[in-house]
Amino acid sequence: MLDPLVRLGRGVLDALERLGRGHLLLLAILLGLGEVLRRPRLLWEQLFNIGVLSLLIVGVSGLFVGMVLALQGYYVLSQFGAAESLGVMVAASLVRELGPVVTALLVAGRAGSALTAEIGLMKATEQLSGLEMMAVDPVRRILVPRFVGGVLSMPLLAAIFSAVGVLGGYFVGVGLLGVDEGAYWSQMQAKIDFDEDLVNGVIKSLAFGVVVTWIALFQGYDTVPTSEGVSRSTTRAVVHAALVVLGLDFVLTALMFGD
């Protein structure tokens, strides 16, 4: 009769324990950050894996998101005779929201899952234990470069996403729909603020970079070392990262713009 209560309690305790392990891992990673300076080559490799290999999907998505924003925005704005504000609308939505958030979701799917699978497999094939046997700290050697690579890649990818999106909006808005070219750029420049919009966007994507790579690394490091466990961890890494990014985005937006 008490079984359901026991199961509930066990579930909560498991979740709390995992949360605690996650934070301890983050702490260990942060303490080991100096390792990146000692072996920068490891970081270049991870910047390649996470940043460069995500470039194509991020760029193409940014282009199409910008073009669709221009199409949809033009439909609404032209009803109020405000089609000249199309540039502001496209740039503000990209720089403030869509750039950081969509990039984080894409990176979670493209690079985060790969990180989890890689580290999970390392654990399943006992490569991590092997490193420990050789007195090499796997957190510093394996996790720290990946963490730093993810955190640094995210704002760069988000900036590329936004810039390509603004250009995509320009092609559709000015080229296809006939919005005045001068108005597209000048309204954008008049209304988008460097501190308020751009810097906040970069802060957002840095925060998303921390969260996405942290979750991916933890899920891989904490995986059940079987093929089924790795597959479940990979799924969980993407799902958790996406949910946390969207939730965190609301909190950050409320703090930054909600006055």
């Binding site: 940043g51 460069v52 470039l55 720089v95 760069l156 990818l157 590329i160 603004v166 750029w185 420049q189």
Partner: protein, 155 residues
């Protein structure tokens, strides 16, 4: 060895691309390029009512932007709004009896300051004050006056 070089090359390209994108956003999309205009000189003007005039609103003459509003503050002695505007250094021959109006671009647009040149041979210097000003037209007040007048006529 060649593979390592490729990795380094593509990472370098990626980082450069990201920085270029950030730079593009900063210069082309945001107003950073405009807000850096600390040159030019400051001129003040007092208005009974500035409506919804914002900092960084344009200051125009004959419809051309020659400066921006630097600050809007309230003078508690005279109960007036003190608007200080930064005029481009190149425009250094504004007569000191120039008229400053607050206009609205379109019916619902943003408010801006329009200067109308006077005829004085003396021109405005840094820190000078424009004496001749006209307040913003507040739409509600105008409608109120209009209704009041109509009521007076019919009664």
């Amino acid at each position: 060895m060649a593979k390592r070089r490729n990795v380094e090359l593509t990472v370098g390209t990626f980082v450069a691309l990201g920085l270029v994108a950030l730079f593009f956003l900063a210069m082309q999309v945001s107003n950073l390029s405009l807000s850096a205009s600390s040159e030019g000189y400051l001129v003040q003007a007092r208005f009974a009512n500035v409506g919804s005039l914002k900092v960084r609103a344009p200051v125009t003459m004959a419809g051309v932007r020659i400066g921006r509003v630097e600050s809007v503050r309230f003078d508690k002695q005279t109960y007036e709004a003190v608007v200080s505007m930064r005029i481009d250094a190149a425009v250094d021959s504004i007569p000191d009896d120039t008229f400053a109006n607050i206009f609205t671009s379109g019916l619902l647009g943003e408010q801006y300051i329009g200067l109308e040149a006077g005829g004085s041979p003396e021109s405005l210097r840094d820190g000078d004050e424009i004496v001749n000003t006209q307040s913003a037209l507040v739409l509600e007040q105008m409608i109120g006056q209009f209704l009041f007048k109509k009521a007076g006529e019919s009664g």
